[in-house]
């Protein structure tokens, strides 16, 4: 499986895309494969401060549930309003329409610490070795 290289990754299977100091966050196609059909995404209020690795929400699938972990520290400036009515877009387009939150970076240098696509792919392969 190929992971897009225009985003960075966490070991907890979130992706993050940076633009002008704001990071868009979602979960990876590996995560959606593991979860199965997503039926609900609980997201934080706009304005909430999050820490690196802190929980910012919950994703409920038919079979299982998982916490969402913030890849970067900062303030939530936007949540994806489309997920309320149609959480299935997380499965259909995890790196696009299925995004979850936008976080204004507290420390712009932090984004570069996230995994690149090659490192993320390696992590998945090691997990399955």
């Amino acid at each position: 499986m190929a992971y897009p290289d225009d985003v960075r990754y966490t070991a907890e299977h979130e992706w993050a895309r940076e633009q002008g100091g704001v990071v868009t966050v979602g979960i990876t196609s590996y995560a959606t494969d593991q979860l199965g059909d997503v039926v609900f995404v609980e997201l934080p209020e706009v304005g909430r401060k999050v820490e690196v690795g802190g929980t910012f929400g919950v994703v409920e699938a038919v079979k299982t549930v998982s916490d969402l972990f913030a890849p970067v520290a900062g303030e939530v400036v936007e949540i994806n309003p489309a997920l309320g009515d149609n959480p299935a877009i997380v499965n259909q387009d995890p790196y696009g329409e299925g995004w979850m939150v936008k976080i204004r970076l507290a420390d712009p240098a932090e984004f570069a610490k996230l995994l690149g696509s090659a490192d993320y792919e390696k992590l998945i392969e090691e997990h399955h070795a």
Binding site: D33, G36, D37, F40, E60, V62, K63
Partner: protein
């Protein structure tokens, strides 16, 4: 520490892989949990037809003049009530009334077959073996040579038409007959774990490919879909059927689980009878209930159930019901809280989810015969 183990495969593992299934370790077997998606697979069985590989289930053969007495000793339901060609659901209990497993007993003309959960197969075989009489019963484990496929859904009979004897299509629910399927000698059983019409087909593993390919070809015209264990679980939970290890186990009794209809106190004696009779006389402290929730947060196995700020039980199964489009679950609660409509709260992390007790089955439009 456990030694690395090699997962057991079924004759169909390569078909699953080729179909893009996500394969997982289930009771030591490499089994498909999902092919395309839980919801799509679930709906295929509710509205069309689906094919399940459930070869991991265990099959024991019981023969001999003492077979009936032996089975009526080890299970709680009444095996003597079975006609030839009939199957029976029953718990098998410990002396203290806890459930060793839930199983099916099939009565053939000259023997019985007992079908058990994969995760309990070794435990069950040992458990039954230690209750074997000295003579008069032969007891064999055929699990390693028996394939089992389930064809389930309102169109199941149409898929099989012309590929099984016509008499098989006339079988009532929980009836079976020996007969060929795609030319392979099999047990054709009108049973299932989905609430839909359908068949479970038991046959020798060495003919697995022939039957699978036959079903795939015959099913194509009817939209037959491959169904993983994920949808198998949501289908059974919508019906309120028990899953061993979740809803029932060594520490729960059939009476607590609402399986009193399978406990035949009138039988002269069976393992667990005294404990269950005592439980019945003294009254139960807890019972399994079904509940549904508003919203979309899903109850999960192990979550605490509260009422009036006090823990009153725990969740044993929970899922998002694709048919009802809402979260549903089951769990044990104190006996005063089992009436339909009773308000409960389920603790999901730091959140309390409001729930209310609901009659089972949750899904009442299934096509299975009764």
């Amino acid at each position: 520490m456990t030694a690395p183990t090699t997962l057991k495969r079924t004759p169909f593992t390569e078909f699953h892989r080729a179909a893009g299934a996500k394969l997982v370790d289930f009771a030591g077997f490499e089994m498909p949990v999902r092919y395309t998606g839980d919801v799509r697979e679930h709906q295929a069985v509710r509205t069309g037809v689906g094919l399940f590989d459930i070869t991991h289930m265990g099959e024991f053969i019981v023969r001999g003049e003492g077979a009936l007495a032996f089975l009526d000793q080890v299970v709680t339901n009444d095996v003597s009530s079975l006609a030839v060609g009939q199957a029976l659901y029953s718990p098998m209990c410990r002396p203290d009334g806890g459930i060793v497993d839930d199983l099916l007993v099939y009565r053939y003309a000259d023997h019985y077959m007992v079908v058990v959960n994969a995760s309990n197969m070794a435990k069950d075989f040992a458990w039954m073996q230690q209750q074997l009489p000295a003579t008069g019963v032969t007891f064999e484990n055929h699990s390693d040579s028996t394939a089992l496929l389930a064809v389930q859904g309102p169109k199941a009979a149409e898929v099989l038409r012309g590929h099984v004897p016509d008499a098989a299509l006339e079988l009532g629910y929980y009836r079976f007959m020996p007969g060929p399927v795609f030319g392979v000698e099999a047990t054709l059983s009108r049973t299932g774990y989905t609430g839909e019409d359908g068949f479970e087909l038991y046959f020798p593993m060495e003919h697995g490919v022939k039957v699978w390919e036959g079903l795939a070809a015959a099913g194509a015209a009817h939209g037959l879909e491959l169904i993983g264990l994920g949808a198998r679980d949501t289908l059974r939970l919508e019906m309120g059927y028990m899953l061993y290890g979740n809803d029932i186990d060594d520490t729960t009794s059939p009476l607590e689980a609402g399986l009193g209809w399978t406990v035949k106190m009138a039988k002269s004696g069976f393992t667990g009878r005294d404990a269950l009779a005592k439980q019945k006389a003294e009254g139960l402290k807890r019972k399994l209930v079904g509940f549904q929730l508003d919203g979309r947060r899903v109850p999960r196995h192990g979550m605490a159930i509260f009422s009036g700020g006090r823990q009153v039980g725990h969740v044993t199964s929970g899922t998002f019901s694709p048919s009802l489009e809402r979260p549903i679950g089951m769990g044990y609660v104190e006996t005063g809280l089992t009436a339909s409509g009773t308000a409960l709260e389920i603790q999901a992390g730091t959140t309390m989810l409001p729930a209310r007790v609901t009659a089972r089955p949750f899904y009442t439009r299934g096509s299975h015969r009764s």
